[in-house]
Amino acid sequence: MISSLDKLRAILRRDLLTAIRHRTGFVLTFASLLTQLAAFYFLSHSIGPIYRPGGMDYFPFLLVGTGLYIFFVMSTQAFLNTVQQAQQTGTMEVLMTTSTAPAELVILSSISAFAGNLVNLVVYLAAGVAIFRASVHANVLACLAVLILSLAIALALGITAATLQIAFQKGGAMVWLMSSGLWLLSGAMFPVQSLPRPLELLARLIPVNYAVQGMRMALLQGQSISAIAPILGTLLAFGLLLLPLSLWGLSFSLKRARQNGTLSFY
């Protein structure tokens, strides 16, 4: 346990140092978040105050939906970039010969990638409240519960992208599928109840949808943990299913790559 925490510290430090030494990239990330936020603010203004999905003002509704959408997509992309760069530079093979088990290494690396984007999410939400005056009535405990369960699901998605990258050199397909599919089915921009029935049913199979719903209820409507218990339960069930499944897939693809000598193929 102490050893794993020490390794996580080393990985977090590596990623933080790399991020801040990419000075332009570091500044652009936050500039890009603010630009997107401004675009959603003016979109909600153009639509006007009459449109209140789920009884909420549209801008706060968009703030939470797009914030979580960006978190899921960007963190998966960030983690995938880490894996791809490791393959391209040859670091991947060396990392796989350290005393750290490959699965542990991938999980710790993904936690780091997702933690970085969790900071971005908090900045995004805080900027929405502070700069664009989104009205929130947060239940902090409920928000934290949704965030923790969302992080578990995000980890599973990131690990799946890494698995696809290692097995078929096609991790980008996962990010493409997420970035395009989630706009339509996650309820980020509009309630999924507006979709045709078959698509609405499909949306119910997507865990991001529940993360978005839960966060809106906890952050915008101040609902308690017990009030959003069904959503938390669904997120927990998705986490318990997807995390072990993604880890099994990763372990299988790593063994296959070591057998075929394709660990550093990209």
């Binding site: 390794k7 590596r14 030494r21 093979e93 796989m96 350290t98 005393s99 057998q259």
Partner: protein, 268 residues
């Protein structure tokens, strides 16, 4: 007990043809990297895998490090099977690979070493001292806080060696370790390796440089196209000249001691 034991190891790389292969000329088929190779290395021994490019030297090192798994046969390291007990194997092995840029470019040399030392479970209390030691051993003290993206090939190679040493492995795998080093650094490097050998570290060196192989090795394994052609103990009565003649005749390689320029003729 042998530190490293190969038993009838076979490794084949399969190249599946691309879709629409008629558009290009990608070669398909199998490459036999190692064919039923068996050997062992003892504690405190410098075992040299000598052979031309494509002979299977690097594949053998990758199999020991668990980067690759054998198709058949078995590889044991310190008594652990690389297939079944990979974690135990990795705790014993340090590897300096030929890939130069296998570092995080926006971290300094010291930060890179600290990162890999953490993953290699070097105790935090000991880490700084060990990093200072390996930086001194590889002559990188002055560049310790330089971002590695600014490093030359030789500096990358030295850092690769430092990374392999920082965990103090029982088995050290070196793949062409002195390829980009200058003469003084090379000499210092081999002195350092000899010290490790005296401390009972097993060294496996992959090289195609005959002169280096015979000057630093205790035993030579001669590989060609995945086959183990011969095994020779250095200093067992066979003269250097006999060994040299044997190697170059068997592999058909050009003798590096005879200058290639002599063969090419004067160009200016």
């Amino acid at each position: 007990m042998d530190r490293v034991a190969f038993e009838s190891v076979r490794k084949v790389f399969r190249h599946r043809p691309a879709l629409f292969n008629w558009l290009g000329r990608e070669r398909a088929g199998d490459t036999i990297a190692l064919n039923s190779v068996s050997f062992a290395a003892a504690p405190g021994e410098v075992l040299v895998l000598l052979g031309p490019n494509g002979s299977g030297k690097s594949t053998a090192l990758k199999l020991i490090s668990t980067m690759l798994l054998p198709d058949s046969g078995s590889v044991h390291v310190a008594g652990f099977d690389t297939n079944q007990q990979a974690g135990d194997v990795r705790r014993q092995v340090g590897i300096a690979v030929a890939t130069e840029r296998s570092f995080f470019p926006r971290l300094s040399a010291r930060e890179n070493l600290d990162f890999f030392a953490a993953l290699d479970e070097v105790a935090p209390r000991e880490r700084s001292r060990r990093i200072e030691e390996v930086l001194a051993d590889t002559g990188l003290q002055e560049q310790a806080d330089t971002l590695v993206m600014k490093f030359s090939s030789g500096m990358y190679q030295r850092l690769g060696i430092a990374r392999a040493l920082v965990k103090r492995p029982a088995i050290l795998l070196l793949d062409e370790p002195t390829r980009s080093l200058d003469a003084a650094t090379t000499a210092h490097f081999w002195t350092m390796i000899r010290t490790l050998v005296r401390q009972n570290t097993t060294i496996l060196l992959a090289t195609h440089n005959f002169a280096e192989a015979v000057s630093v090795g205790d035993r030579l394994l001669l590989l060609q196209k995945g086959e183990l052609l011969a095994e020779r103990s250095i200093g067992s009565g066979e003269s250097m000249e006999q060994l040299r003649t044997f190697y170059f005749r068997t592999t058909g390689e050009t003798d590096e001691a005879a200058s290639p320029i002599q063969h090419a003729g004067r160009v200016l």
